[in-house]
């Protein structure tokens, strides 16, 4: 229904331009949807979907070509679920099994928006996907199916490593009447953590407030601002009032939160970080602190001791690299494969970011040679942190899937 409403909205604002020849109009829209300005590709894609069989026919042609769904571009790919043609939906599901698919989060989102009861097991499988954005989108699809099964699956996502996945699972559970899950959202209102310069706590507060507003009604969050620090008197008073309301709804079920869901404390002395976001290998977030700690993931639940001098060595490597790189900050073309290095050098309050990005195709020399020693040092340092077997190899694989092979 939502897809149909959206389609109606778009089609009523812009009539078809070539009504006399639907096939020509479909081809024109296909071109805009795949080659036009990124800003209008989604609109063109939805208009194509609204054309019915004429629109579907030109898209099917593309899907049957050698490069298949990859020839559609991200906007039309995500719009596949808006077509009435069931084959489009099948293509979307199949594309999620492709490890080279750079748009898996968009595919999961598209499918979840129009989820069918019988697809619940498939969405449930996505809850353990290696990419957090896919897991987050899958939550909505799981919630559409059998209620008991949905609740069981979503409870497991309440301890996901990713905050957004936990928030979405908590929201979905609360919608299904499991009000104890509201505790996760209340706790997120207390977050004020950051990951170097990324204020994850503030994002968590904003998303939790939006979710609570939808669940409890706008009036329930009146006067609360996610921009206020959670330890300010006004924010504390509002959070307490919200918590009282949620506890009332939950009755005796108010839970003790697992460590992963607790508002993280501040990580002192974080000076180096790397975000490795790979379509194929998944995600790794690593930070190093001045007192030789390795912080794995978003929060503060996984902190490992490193040999003395580990971070100093990394900083040295980083400084050497930055001298070579100068002011060049970004390498590659836009895409959702990202390798982002963050260096907070002595005397600087903000981190200096170097970003490598690419689409699905391998780019063997994407990482500038000057960054190779930094990446090697990161792999060795993290490998020394006493994590499970295969950990160092996993980090290396992820690095290489992004910036290309490391030099010998």
């Amino acid at each position: 229904m939502r897809a149909a409403a959206l389609l109606l909205a778009f089609t009523t604002t812009a009539p078809l331009q070539d009504e006399g020849d639907p096939a020509a109009e479909a081809r024109r829209l296909l071109e805009v949807a795949t080659e036009g300005s990124p800003r209008i590709r989604t609109q063109a894609s939805l208009r194509l979907a609204a054309m019915g069989e004429d629109g579907a026919a030109v898209v099917r042609e593309r899907l049957e070509a050698e490069s298949g769904y990859l020839s559609l571009g991200p906007a039309l790919y995500e719009a596949l679920s808006a077509f009435e043609d069931e084959r489009m939906r099948v293509a979307l599901w199949e594309s999620l099994d492709d490890v080279m698919n750079p748009w898996r989060p968009a595919g999961a989102r598209a499918l979840a928006k129009t989820a069918k009861m019988e697809e619940q097991p498939r969405f449930q499988a996505l809850l353990t996907d290696r990419i957090s954005a896919v897991r987050a989108e899958a939550v909505a699809g799981v919630a559409v199916g059998d209620e008991a099964r949905a609740k069981e699956a979503l409870r497991a996502s309440l301890i996901d490593q990713n905050g957004r996945v936990r928030r979405r699972a908590a929201t979905a559970l609360a919608k299904l009447g499991e009000h104890a899950a509201l505790a996760w959202l209340i706790e997120d209102l207390r977050r004020d953590d950051s990951w170097l310069d990324m204020r994850l706590g503030r994002i968590a507060r904003a998303e939790a407030a939006q979710a609570l507003g939808k669940l409890l009604g706008r009036e329930a969050i009146a006067g609360y601002s996610s921009r206020s620090a959670p330890d300010s008197a006004e924010a504390q008073a509002k959070i307490q009032a919200l918590e009282a309301r949620c506890r009332e709804l939950a009755g005796d079920d108010w839970p003790v939160l697992p460590d992963i869901a607790r508002a993280p404390g501040e990580i002192q002395g974080e000076v180096i970080g790397v975000e490795l976001l790979s379509c194929r290998e998944g995600e790794l977030l690593l930070r190093w602190t001045t007192d030789d700690k390795l912080v794995v993931g978003e929060g503060d639940t996984d902190i490992r001791d490193l040999p003395e001098g580990s971070t100093a060595l990394l900083l040295e490597r980083a400084q050497e690299a930055l001298e070579v790189l100068g002011n060049t900050r970004a390498y590659g073309d836009p895409g959702c494969d990202l390798e982002r290095h963050h260096f907070r050098l002595p005397g600087s309050s903000r981190a200096w970011t170097i970003q490598l990005s690419k689409g699905p195709e391998a780019v063997p020399d994407l990482r500038p040679a000057a960054l190779h020693p930094v990446a090697e040092a990161m792999i060795q340092s993290a490998g020394a942190a006493g994590l499970e077997q295969g950990w160092e190899e996993q980090i290396r694989r992820t690095f290489e899937s992004l910036g290309g092979p490391l030099s010998e």
């Binding site: 009146a222 996610s226 990202l338």
Partner: protein, 144 residues
Amino acid sequence: MRPVKILLLLICSLGLSAAAPPVAPSAAQDPVYELSLLDLMSIEYKPGQKLPTWVRALNGHKVRVEGYMALGTPEGLEKFELVWDSCGCGQSIVNHFIEVTLTEETTAFNPDIIYVEGYFYASEVREDGYIVSLFRLKAPKIQI
């Protein structure tokens, strides 16, 4: 009652959480409201329909927004798209970016979190039957 106070009352009375923008006034004459891209993205936007009252209330006012330059922003342009995440994956959805026009400098891609402060405008801009922008901001320069 002064217009700014009326605006503040209007925004506060709507009871918006992350969307409630009142923040301390800037050194300049006009007050600056902090605006979040996440709030703009949360709007259930449909072409042709009125934007929420709190967004319209900010129209023409000075705001400060944090975000990222969209990936692939070329050098030397007056305009760029401000998106909320570093991968800039939301560029194809019109309520997921702000079109920023710089008046005192041109673009040089920066992968850090950036801030822009300037006058905010919210309305549909159409070209050839498509909506090409919903949110715009005119700022002298990027703040780091």
